[in-house]
Amino acid sequence: MRKGILELCIMSIIAEKEVYPSDIISKLKEAELIVVEGTLYPLLSRLKNAGLLSYSWRESTAGPPRKYFNLTTDGKSFLAELNQNWNRLVNAVDTTTQTKRDE
């Protein structure tokens, strides 16, 4: 169940603006979505291999160059699809819990 959600969140973060992994980590940690940071890297590489993400190297002021991720066109349409599914799920859950409360 967590599986698709984590992908959705990561892609949403990347959709907002180009980010490098540590930015994603701090956001996910804020939202308490991941426990260990290591989880992120295989996931990113999987999304990248699926053609949903791409990255470019950027110089950084502190330390070595960093990988900045952004969504590909495929990634954008996939994210839209994921969002749709998510909304459908939220609606479904809302409706069922709502009826329970009404009874």
Partner: protein
């Protein structure tokens, strides 16, 4: 005092204590093993190394040398390999097919080996017994003997298995034979059992040796002057020595296994 080493982690240079270096090195090797079947192993590890470098820089807060605590903290944040779940769809099928072709990999996690510790001819039967969870290999042996006498196939199958099935040589092989995974705790447990056996054999033999000696000595003691008494005391004291060695080795093993557990390598 601690020896230090210079390392390049994710493009950043660190001066690192030797024990800290060993820990980091072990962690990275564990990760490599964890992502063994992933096509993007190199990339994932490089990303993780870069992040570890960042975490270490944060942890250092101006200090010059990376200590084991810095490393442990960074590893804790990154997570043990087993906590890093990846569901590589293509890779798992790859793993399974490889198991079928190359080794005798089975769903239970057990692997077929010949057991060199419990063998009559080549350990085929005891290996099979371990594989199928039969407690006493005698039943497998009897089956083979019966099959040889009645249908005649048993001997051929046995010889074929002798050639095809590898002998369990390493501790990891033996654990795989019993269906346990080869982690530090299991290996430590196995060594401990081995030490127990060793201690028992030593005790038995030592007692018989010393008994003989003290018998000789007591005979001498009665027949000769009492100055041989000193030797006798020495001989009598000795039996506790192997037990002591075994005890301390066991303690060290246990603490090692615990440390591995704490750092979540296992």
């Amino acid at each position: 005092m601690n020896k230090t080493t210079q390392i390049n982690l994710g493009g950043i240079s660190f001066t690192i204590d030797e024990d800290a270096f060993k820990r980091l090195d072990l962690y990275l090797h564990e990760l490599e093993a964890h992502f063994e079947y992933s096509d993007s192993r190199g990339e994932i590890i490089a990303d993780i190394e870069a992040r570890l470098a960042e975490l270490l820089t944060e942890n250092l807060r101006g200090s010059d040398i990376v200590t084991i605590k810095n490393v442990a903290d960074a590893i804790k944040v990154m997570g043990a390999p087993s906590d890093i779940d990846d569901e590589p769809v293509t890779n798992q099928s790859h793993r399974r097919s490889e198991g079928k072709d190359g080794t005798w990999d089975i769903k239970t996690g057990k692997r077929l080996f010949r057991d060199p510790d419990d063998k009559v001819v080549a350990g085929v039967c005891s290996g099979l017994a371990a594989y199928f969870g039969i407690e006493d290999p005698i039943w497998v042996r009897l089956t083979f003997v019966l099959a040889s006498v009645t249908i005649g196939f048993g001997l051929i199958i046995y010889i074929a298995a002798w050639i095809l099935v590898p002998e369990a040589k390493t501790a990891g092989d033996r654990l795989a034979m019993m269906g346990h995974s080869a982690n530090a705790k299991n290996i430590a447990g196995m060594i401990e059992r081995g030490l127990d056996d060793l201690s028992d054999t030593l005790k038995e033999n030592w007692e018989s040796i010393t008994k003989k000696k003290s018998d000789d000595n007591s005979r001498k003691f009665f027949m000769q002057k009492p100055n041989s008494f000193g030797d006798d005391v020495l001989v009598l004291r000795r039996p506790s020595l192997p037990a002591k060695i075994v005890q301390s080795a066991k303690r060290k093993l246990k603490s090692l296994a615990n440390r591995c557990d704490d750092s979540q390598y296992v």
